[in-house]
Symmetry: C2
Subunit: 110 residues, 2 copies
Amino acid sequence: MTADHVFTALASPARRELLRLLLEEGGQPAGRLAERFDMSRPSVSEHLRVLKDAGLVSESRQGRERHYRLEAAPLMEIRDWLSPYERFWREKLANLTDLLDEMEDHGQDS
Amino acid sequence: MTADHVFTALASPARRELLRLLLEEGGQPAGRLAERFDMSRPSVSEHLRVLKDAGLVSESRQGRERHYRLEAAPLMEIRDWLSPYERFWREKLANLTDLLDEMEDHGQDS
DNA sequence: ACTATACGTAGGTTTTTTCCTACATAACAA
DNA sequence: TTGTTATGTAGGAAAAAACCTACGTATAGT
């Protein structure tokens, strides 16, 4: 729910893989997701819980299955967190290209 | 150096705070950074090492100080990782606004 | 009602992370 | 040289994370 939870959730490769599966293949029941991992089903279940606590997936019961689907909104918080760093990166890149242009100007006249 | 390292580095609030300080106040020696934390200096030093392994900071020796500065490039990998999810998010949002428009059309004629 | 299926939860072990207090190293200063 | 400052490294304790194997619960099917 907080940005902290989101960052923590994204730190695990298994959880990032879960998000990828939900993105590329759409929402799925827990069992079908678990099949794709070289890991016990309860462990996958726990990863899903972490993702859910971070608001990155939602769960809906359908019969005896639990359908999980991607909730991308919290990732937009990450994007926002990232943006000042992106600005910083761009400025640095701009300075570099300016420098290169200047070197070129000095290297060849006219 | 890998995306995995970057995600792991970002998972810690202390390390994100280090990045923020380096972004907002510019590069600084290790000791000055450590002062800002309610944590022992060696612990901060270790966090800096994790950030360095992820390529998020660079270190340069200046006399007996070690100057750390922000390296934002690896964060651009995170941004790239994020982008397909952003697309997903936008589509969902578009569907929602379409639905709302449709409801409005039916609610009031012309 | 009974069995099978789809899950989450409990409890415990192993691994990883985080943090600390010494201690080592290297540079500057007198 | 001798002392002081800046900082990383070692070693270890404590907390957190990641797994696993039972086990519990609820729904579906017969």
